[in-house]
């Protein structure tokens, strides 16, 4: 599955999202804690772990930590962003989730972790067409 990382200023609140996602995304179900996924043959999943940069880089090499920090400073215009992971096979499923989250978190920023890394705002992601 493709990894799409969602960056927000504040942690994503599960209780705020659950009603919106379940209403507007037909294929969505949840485990009532912090995990959404699809209930049809095109699997996607959204893991709400609200990880900040420091805790995600614990135990890694100093060079790797520095590299990741520089990458984020250069590409993500949010200070101390909180990250969550959306995994999907199809871009249309990702667009549906991002559309819902964008209304709750307008500063949402996206990183698509593929062979070539892509950074952009949520609106830019919705406007672009990907080959998956």
């Amino acid at each position: 599955m493709r990894d799409i990382i969602l960056y927000t200023k504040n942690p994503i609140n599960y209780d705020e999202c659950v009603k919106n996602i379940l209403e507007k995304v037909k294929s969505a179900t949840t485990n009532s804690k912090n995990y959404f996924h699809s209930n049809n043959k095109h699997f996607w999943c959204l893991d709400i772990d609200n990880e900040d940069l420091e805790s995600s880089l614990l135990g890694f090499d100093v060079n790797y930590v520095e590299e990741q920090k520089q990458l984020l400073i250069k590409n993500v215009p949010i200070e101390n962003p909180i990250s969550n992971l959306l995994q999907t096979h199809r871009s249309i499923d990702a667009k549906r989730i991002i559309e819902v989250l964008m209304k709750l978190y307008p500063e949402l920023y996206i990183e698509v972790n593929d062979a070539e890394i892509w950074f952009g705002s949520a609106q830019e992601y919705l406007d672009m067409e990907f080959d998956y």
Binding site: I5, N31, K33, Y35, S56, F60, D61, H89, N113, D114
Partner: protein, 171 residues
């Protein structure tokens, strides 16, 4: 089918209305498949289904990895892009390739961000099922791979290593 002897002494068939019908030699000489043949046919159709699943998958390297494993160890792959119930999250999770003794995750990303938690939960599930967790990440930089290896994850960018690991565990 009822039969009666015809003029030349040959057996002839006729239907319920009394009309003569041609002898269906295919049915006459039909031998049902043996249990071995039936099992093999079932295996082949499952393999074809997995092949199609891997080929139609939008994951970049999944089909390549599947083909290499099938070439080296035919009929060892059990599932491709299959969802399994994970009791640790009390919900389902998808896994890329599952064999008898291994769970293989294929990652096309070139950045190791947000992978650690994924690998942890997949490894936890693999240990719960007594399987080995392997990650194939051909685009990750070597230093990132080394970092993940130091953390205890079985990660590589070489398919041959994956096949060797599967052989060690399964054969």
């Amino acid at each position: 089918m009822p039969t009666k002897k015809g003029a030349g002494g040959r057996q002839q068939n006729y239907d319920s209305r009394g009309r003569y019908t041609k002898t269906d030699y295919a049915k006459l000489y039909y031998t049902p498949p043996s249990r071995k043949e039936k099992t093999q046919k079932r295996k082949d159709s499952k393999r074809e289904e997995l092949f199609n699943r891997a080929r139609n998958s939008k994951d970049k390297y999944l089909f390549e990895v599947f083909c290499e494993i099938e070439k080296a160890l035919p009929y060892h792959v059990q599932f491709v892009n299959e969802t399994k119930f994970d009791p640790f999250i009390n919900d389902i999770r998808e896994f890329d390739i599952i064999t008898q003794k291994c769970i293989i995750e294929v990652k096309s990303g070139s950045n190791g961000r947000k992978m650690e938690n994924q690998f942890k939960s997949q490894k936890r599930y693999a240990e719960y099922k007594n399987k080995q967790h392997i990650v194939f990440a051909p685009n990750l930089p070597i230093m990132t791979i080394i970092n993940f290896k130091r953390k205890g994850f079985n990660i590589t960018n070489d398919i041959k290593m994956i096949i060797n690991t599967i052989k060690e565990n399964e054969l």
